[in-house]
């Protein structure tokens, strides 16, 4: 187990260093996020639907599309010079590879969310601060679920043609449960209701995380082996 975690961290650290050098995934996801929020801001009629009713959906649609952009990159960089082949020959377990990618992807998406949340507050003027801690918990729980599934699918599609197109097509149906939970919990929190009203949705998110972390870890070796 110690070897698995050590190898996973080695892979995650390498991915983070590569991202720091190129800034491809994070920068494009951050720009994309800003653009989506801008489009939503100017594309709605504030007199027809109250901002507070619309905001949770906008936040989570933005987060999930930005996550897909970052996830697309996860295995793409292993195809450059076919590093993936050497990773599969190396003595590390497939689980290490999955966990390493998962950790790196979580960090990418967290950075994007850290930029997106203040922009969201700026554009939509929603009262985030009074429920910040529980909102961060909702974001963390939903993000783990998104990224657990996304990392698996990103490995699955990487050797297919049109991988960048395939990923959202396969992934979005699996995003529906955590997306629903996250939107419902966020709506309650932004509305100033007590945390207990969102508890059921938080349990759904936690259950989804556990189920898909276990499933993805078990299925991942079958997606990368020829």
């Amino acid at each position: 187990m110690a070897d698995t975690l050590r190898h996973a961290w080695t892979i995650a650290r390498k991915d983070l260093l590569l991202e720091f050098r190129t800034r491809t995934a994070v920068l494009s996801a951050v720009v994309f996020t800003a653009l989506v929020l801008t489009v939503f801001n100017f594309g709605r009629d504030p007199t027809a639907v109250a901002t507070i009713d619309l905001a949770p959906s906008i936040l989570w649609v933005t987060f999930s599309f930005a996550a897909i952009l970052a996830l697309n990159r996860a295995f793409q960089l292993e195809l450059e010079n076919d590093a993936l082949e050497a990773l599969l020959v190396s003595p590390i377990s497939r689980t290490s590879l999955y966990l390493g990618k998962l950790v790196a992807n979580l960090m990418f998406v967290a950075v994007v969310e850290c930029v997106a949340l203040p922009l969201f507050v700026l554009f939509f003027d929603v009262p985030v601060w009074r429920a910040l801690a529980p909102l961060v918990a909702v974001i963390a729980l939903a993000t783990v679920g998104f990224v657990a599934v996304g990392t698996l699918f990103s490995a699955m599609v990487i050797r297919t043609r049109f991988a960048e197109l395939m990923l959202p097509v396969l992934l979005l149906p699996f995003f529906i449960p955590p997306l629903t939970g996250a939107v419902q919990a966020t709506a309650r929190l932004l509305d100033g209701r007590p945390l207990s009203e969102a508890a059921g949705w938080l349990r759904l998110l936690a259950g989804y995380d556990v189920a898909f972390l276990v499933l993805a870890t078990l299925l991942f070796p079958h997606t990368v082996d020829e």
Partner: protein
């Protein structure tokens, strides 16, 4: 050290491996010659554990940890430096943290790329990148080296240096399996020679005292004329 028993594999109707069997003892170098599409890469991938054969079994003493792999590409990250790449791969092979930089320096020196240590891989020429790829495969001092067209992109001097290095490794008891379509390169390295055609070994034998030119002639006869031969063999114990 390395053993293949009755390996068979096909991609649809295309037969890539057809009853391949052989074993190699420490200090042996098998050079597999064959035209494009003969199944050489598939054989190396099966030996490396990248492809599970549809029949038969391949085993390397020491498992994946004992294998040094050089495929068609460099397997290096373009935006890392050569040294960073080598240290990364050493970490995956559990080379002790305190030894990784020294080992990288040693391997780069052997491949005459020490002055490239701090250059990013994308900035290297094809030949330098190929040397860095070989350095990567040697970082964990593997017992078995599997090389697929390792001389691609190397100039004559660099190819000669790599041949000298492989000869040294053979002398140190390493097993080397090298696949190439070019019969003019690699023959002098061989202790054992195989000719592969349509997935089959149409010839497998110790090189003996045969000169490279004789091997080239035998290859042209065997593969060009589709000569039949033994489907496998055992050499060097």
């Amino acid at each position: 050290m390395l053993r293949a028993d009755g390996l068979r594999h096909a991609f649809g109707h295309v037969i890539a491996l057809d009853d391949i069997s052989f074993s190699l003892a420490p200090g042996r170098t098998l050079v597999i010659f064959g035209p494009n599409g003969a199944g050489k890469t598939t054989l190396l991938k099966v030996l490396a554990g990248l492809i599970r054969p549809q029949a038969g079994r391949a085993a390397v003493a020491g498992g994946r940890r004992a294998i040094g792999w050089i495929g068609h590409q460099s397997h290096l990250y373009a935006h890392l430096t050569v040294a960073e790449n080598l240290v990364f791969w050493a970490a995956l092979y559990d080379v002790p943290a305190g030894r990784r930089r020294a080992r990288a320096a040693e391997v780069m020196r052997r491949l005459a790329i020490a002055d490239q240590a701090d250059r990013r891989v994308w900035a290297l020429s094809r030949g330098l990148a190929q040397r860095a790829a070989i350095a990567r495969a040697l970082m964990h001092d593997p017992q078995v080296l599997l090389l697929d067209e390792p001389f691609t992109g190397l100039d004559l001097a660099a190819a000669a240096e790599v041949r000298a290095l492989l000869t040294q490794l053979r002398g140190a008891g390493r097993v080397v399996v090298l696949a190439t379509h070019n019969v003019d390169e690699g023959a002098e390295l061989a202790t054992d020679v195989a000719f592969q055609r349509r997935g089959r070994f149409v010839h497998f034998a110790p090189r003996g005292a045969h000169e490279s030119a004789e091997i080239a002639e035998a290859y042209r006869r065997a593969v060009g004329a589709g000569a039949a031969g033994g489907a496998g063999g055992t050499t060097g114990g």
